[in-house]
């Protein structure tokens, strides 16, 4: 059954299988590398995260929308590729003996789920932004800004949680038990969050500040890092 599922040609309807978390089929896909399926998943990540990014940046400016549409999928893909080798090494060391391609495709599929959810929410975000008061340096509604910010946090948290839940189900299937799966997921998550946070910091702005110009990268993008800034902020507080 697994072999027959793996032989199936990748098709757009596969995304439903991923979203439903049908672990037998997904496990077979991860075991049998298929370049076409991988390309399809990357396209979904670009489209899903890109459309969400476009919606996110639209409030500030259409140009900002275009920039964030490029940057959002870039963060996901750079994090996936940047940590691919580390994730592949950590899996066998933590008890899950899977090859590089399998660990890589598992992470890509998890991100595909996340990007699909983000893409599905993008029309809602566009609608919310369309209804929000205009963002300009002269008139800034902090209530609207905070509401939009919190909505983004909630949607991204939901998408990320679902992506990782599906990844945990797949890892549980591959490891034949939850203990190793949880350990591997925690290690992968730690690495991905660590790199992802820094990449997000470098590629800011996303929503955009009304008092600052629309830019692809801030001039000080490569000055300082996310954790240093958080640390300094906490230190200044006390």
């Amino acid at each position: 059954m697994q072999a027959s599922a793996a032989k199936l040609k990748p098709c757009p309807s596969e995304i439903a299988t991923l979203l439903r978390g049908e672990t037998k089929a997904i496990s077979a896909w991860s075991e049998n590398w298929n370049a076409l399926r991988f390309a399809w998943h990357v396209i979904i990540i670009i489209l899903g995260a890109g459309s969400y990014g476009a919606a996110m940046g639209w409030w500030r400016d259409p140009q900002q929308s275009f920039y964030v549409a490029l940057k959002f999928p870039l963060i996901i893909l750079l994090t996936t590729f940047g940590n691919a080798l580390l994730n592949a090494m950590l899996a066998p060391l933590l008890g899950l003996n899977i090859p590089f391609r399998q660990s890589f495709s598992a992470v890509v599929m998890s991100n595909t789920v996340t990007a699909t959810i983000l893409g599905a929410f993008s029309p809602l975000i566009f609608f919310m932004v369309w209804n929000a008061p205009e963002m300009s340096a002269k008139v800034v509604s902090y209530t609207a800004y905070n509401f939009i910010l919190l909505t983004h946090v909630a949607v991204i948290a939901l998408a990320g949680t679902m992506g990782n839940l599906r990844l945990l189900q797949l890892l549980t299937q591959l490891a034949h038990g939850p203990a190793i799966a949880r350990r591997v997921l925690c290690a992968w998550l730690a690495g991905n969050l660590f790199l992802g946070s820094q990449l997000s910091w470098i590629l800011r702005p996303f929503i955009g500040a009304p008092s600052l110009p629309v830019q692809f990268l801030r001039p000080d993008s490569f000055h300082g890092n996310f954790y240093e800034t958080v640390f300094n902020t906490v230190r200044h507080l006390f």
Binding site: M89, N97, A175, H223, G224, E228
Partner: protein, 270 residues
């Protein structure tokens, strides 16, 4: 395949095995097994490791195979190939560490990191052998060298895994203290896995106690940390290439952090 991992993969018994045992009437229960499964009882572990890439693969996925091969005659060749991997991987990670300062550090950092690792290992090898013997282990010197090479190899290939992350941070921060801390965290995580491999190797060498090995691990960590200070600067700009003043690693770190804080305060005032 992965039985020497402290927590091996949980593989449920296959249906065929269950049916087989069910069909044998009054089959006696299997004898109770004490201690770890002997190395080489799986035919896959007896397959020779022909080259460096196979050694890396075995270290990550079949550590029992590597441990078995390290006990065979002619293990010296395997150990040399493992040490060669350590040299290459530490040099690559050194280049990544050197990108923080750029310029001459691009070649000084890899040389210092590779040299530091090999010198630390050479300094600690005699004490490791002594502690191994004191613990009642039957491991020969070549096996001890092999296990130490395994520790270094796992450590450095994991550092290669961390290299893209280290590079991203090297390009986006100016704080020497921050970069030093980050490299130390990566080194510490990699060393933890390396030490775990080495300890699993000693489990098969009939050691009666792990107290000596645990003491040696602390010594090795201290030596490696002091080596980062003795060969400083590794990530900062090297002028001169080697330090003229002797310092304990903790006082060097405190000095680096206070310099970094002073710089941050000056920038804040600007």
């Amino acid at each position: 395949m992965n039985e020497n991992n402290p927590i091996p993969p949980q593989i449920p018994p296959s249906d065929s095995t269950q049916n087989f045992t069910a069909n044998i009437p009054n089959s006696p229960p299997p004898p109770p097994r004490s201690g770890p499964r002997p190395l080489g009882d799986d035919p896959a572990e007896r397959i020779a490791i022909p080259h460096t890439f196979a050694a890396i693969e075995a270290l990550l996925r079949q550590p029992r195979r590597l441990l078995f091969q390290l006990r065979q005659p002619g293990a010296g060749k395997l150990i040399v190939s493992m040490l060669f991997t350590v040299l290459i991987c530490s040099a690559i990670y050194g280049v990544v560490a050197g990108t923080f300062s750029g310029g001459t550090q691009l070649w000084i950092a890899p040389v210092k990191i590779a040299a530091g690792l090999f010198i630390s290992a050479a300094i600690c090898l005699p004490s490791l052998y002594i502690f191994t013997c004191l613990s009642g282990s039957q491991a020969r010197l070549i096996e001890v060298v092999g296990l130490l090479a395994g520790l270094l190899m796992l450590m450095t290939i994991l550092l290669i895994g961390f290299a893209p992350v280290a590079w991203i941070f090297s390009q986006s921060t100016q704080s020497l203290a921050w970069m030093g801390t980050l490299h130390l965290i990566f080194w510490f995580v990699a060393t933890l896995f390396g030490v775990r491999f080495m300890k699993s190797g000693f489990n098969y060498a009939d050691a009666k106690s792990h107290a000596g090995l645990n003491t040696w691990i602390i010594i090795f960590l201290l030596v490696a940390l002091q080596m980062t200070t003795a060969l400083r600067p590794i990530i900062g700009k090297a002028d001169p290439v080697l330090p003229t003043e002797k310092q304990f690693f903790l006082s060097h770190w405190i000095e680096c952090i206070s310099i970094s804080n002073d710089k941050a305060k000056t920038n804040a005032r600007d």
